[in-house]
């Protein structure tokens, strides 16, 4: 695997958890509650297992947290959820939900290509950079061509999604020894997050939040009434470009860290829930951030205690929030009327 700073050395992990990582979130994309894990669950040293054999306990989680094994992925999930929740509000308002899906798949292909080139040509390309390059490329094609195509813009989004997904699977097939990492990226089953990935997620997220905060009114005006904003000499094209570059940046970095599936879920479901429920953009941004962060953190805990894949758990929790908010919005509107 291309390096990027391991969270803990193999010896440290063995010391903490025995010969494997012990109980916790499943690393299998197809895991079910009854599915056997890749290795038997082992309690970390110094931690007590729960009374029910094989069921992860809080003390186990707390011990892993202290070691940083669970802390980093939880923080990563929370931070990614918050930032993608905020960004997702603008993505949903721009009616570009599937652009995020296509860009996240392109980022996944970038990571897969980085692994492939490392193994076959010994060319060291940091996976995050490869992910960013392909995500930006996909974004550039989408934003450039969408204005010029005679076909509906969705067709190009679908094409990029299809090409990136197929490409990642094909490339992954040729790097069998790393296929687990590829699956982790594509399906969001990564249990561990390296400090470097966490740092990148925090860094990219901070940049995203700063730009969104600084250009908040501009992004709104340019989206609500682009022609009116242009006549007022707002830099509408630059604002549009900035938004999609931020999407590409955030998606590529978070895809490498937590996988494509939860990234897409965080960028869509919390924003939809917030926009359905609230009549103010600022409040919708705050709620989307909160729901995204909760889905990221609680999703990991759910995966840990019930031994499900992490990404799917985080995505499911995002959808659960949406399913709660939709009828709630209807009730609130009914009472307001």
């Amino acid at each position: 695997m291309p390096d990027g700073g391991e969270a803990l050395s193999h010896d440290e992990l063995e010391e903490a958890f025995g010969s494997d990582l012990g109980a916790g979130p499943s690393t299998s994309a197809t895991a079910t509650p009854s599915a056997p894990h890749e290795a038997p669950a082992q309690p970390p040293m110094g931690a007590e297992r729960s009374a029910v054999e094989g069921v992860p306990s809080w003390s186990e989680f707390a011990h892993g947290w202290e070691l940083g094994i669970y802390r980093d992925p939880v923080l990563c999930g929370v931070f990614a959820g918050v930032v993608l929740g905020v960004l997702g509000v603008f993505v949903v308002l721009r009616r570009a939900v599937f652009v995020t899906a296509a860009v996240s798949q392109a980022a996944g292909l970038g990571v897969a290509l980085a692994f492939y080139l490392e193994l076959t040509l010994h060319a060291h390309i940091p996976p995050v950079l490869a992910a960013l390059a392909l995500a930006l490329g996909a974004t550039a094609v989408l934003t450039y061509r969408m204005q010029r195509m005679r076909l509906p813009s969705e067709t190009l989004v679908g094409l990029i999604y299809l090409a990136a997904s197929a490409g990642a699977i094909l490339v992954g097939d040729r790097i069998a020894q790393e296929s687990h990492d590829i699956a982790s990226i594509l399906f969001g089953t990564a249990v561990l997050v390296r400090p470097m990935d966490l740092a990148l997620v925090v860094g990219a997220g901070t940049i995203t939040l700063i730009v969104i905060s600084a250009g908040y009114r501009g992004f709104l005006f340019a989206g609500f009434d682009p022609e009116g904003a242009s006549v007022h000499r707002l830099p509408v094209r630059l604002l549009d470009l900035s938004l999609w570059v931020l999407v590409a940046l955030e998606v590529s970095v978070t895809t490498r860290a937590i996988g494509a599936l939860p990234v897409f879920a965080f960028a869509v479901a919390p924003a939809m829930a917030a926009l359905a429920l609230l009549e103010r953009v600022r409040w919708a941004l705050a709620l989307a951030a909160a729901l995204g962060g909760l889905a990221g953190g609680l999703g990991y805990l759910f995966a840990f205690f019930y031994e499900f894949p992490v990404g799917a758990s985080q995505a499911t929790l995002s959808l659960l929030f949406l399913l709660i908010c939709l009828p709630l919005a209807r009730v609130l509107r009914g009472s307001a009327a």
Binding site: F221, E227, A229, L234, E279
Partner: protein, 252 residues
């Protein structure tokens, strides 16, 4: 250039041909829009009115000719057709009006706040202050248009361009809208260019009209009465267009 005693020149179309991909859809148009004038752009559906407006505003490049601003830093404001405004955005009426304050890069200034006194006074001026904290997307068509007029008002524009702002209104609301715009013109010296299909209102409020028609290659400008008397106008409309007829009968 403005002559002594003439209202200040704001925007000039110098033999401007408009169209797409280098193909002109209308003959050359030469008009001058001056401070305090009320221009009505008239023509059938698909006659090129919006294309001409967008070219004048710099949203589309002219095929030939040139658009001139009367002075540097001319303050323009534009109210596009309603379909160009995205009502998915959960904005309060007050938020929409405040957009009128933003120009250039001013949106990065956090102190240009929502409670700006000009926003409140513009809402009051348009009679929608009580709707300030209502979601824009839940307002009636007439209320939305008043809020958007308040945005025009707060923008301190010298020239306001409106593309079919009354298309979703009944006759009473439409008359109120024209009256509000005319009031803005009188109080502020604002020049107004409006696309409208309501010829009765054009005759009553506008002091300049421009008839455009891409099918016959027509561009006629002048006082509304002159344009309505032009043979090319009658060729494209009925002998006496219903709206005009109603107004004349009512006036009589």
């Amino acid at each position: 250039m403005s002559r002594v005693g003439e209202p200040k020149l704001l925007l000039a179309s110098r033999s401007v041909e408009v169209g797409y991909l280098g193909q002109a859809i209308l003959p050359p148009v030469s008009v001058e829009i001056r401070e305090g004038e009320f221009w009505a752009i008239i023509g059938r559906n698909g006659s090129g009115k919006t294309t001409w407006l967008k070219t004048m505003l710099g949203l589309l490049p002219p095929v030939r000719g040139r658009v001139e601003h009367g002075h540097a830093g001319l303050r323009l404001s534009y109210l596009p057709q309603r379909k160009a405004i995205d009502e998915l955005y959960p904005l309060l009426a007050r938020d929409v009006v405040r957009m009128g304050l933003d120009r250039g890069w001013s949106f990065v200034r956090p102190w240009l706040g929502r409670e700006h006194p000009e926003v409140t006074s513009a809402l009051e001026e348009m009679g929608v202050n009580d709707l300030a904290d209502e979601p824009f997307r839940r307002l009636s068509e007439g209320q939305k248009q008043r809020v958007l007029f308040a945005r025009l008002s707060v923008s301190r524009a010298e020239l306001a361009v409106l593309d079919e702002p009354t298309s979703a209104m009944d006759q009473v609301a439409e008359h109120e809208a024209f009256t509000l715009l005319d009031g803005l013109r009188e109080r502020r010296g604002l020049a107004i260019v409006i696309v409208s299909h309501y010829l009765g209102m054009v005759r009553r409020f506008a002091d300049r009209a421009l008839l455009l028609d891409r099918d016959t290659g027509t561009a006629v400008s002048g006082a509304p009465a002159e344009v309505f008397a032009d043979d090319r106008f009658h060729a494209r409309f009925s002998e006496r267009p219903p709206a005009l007829k109603t107004l004349e009968d009512g006036d009589a």
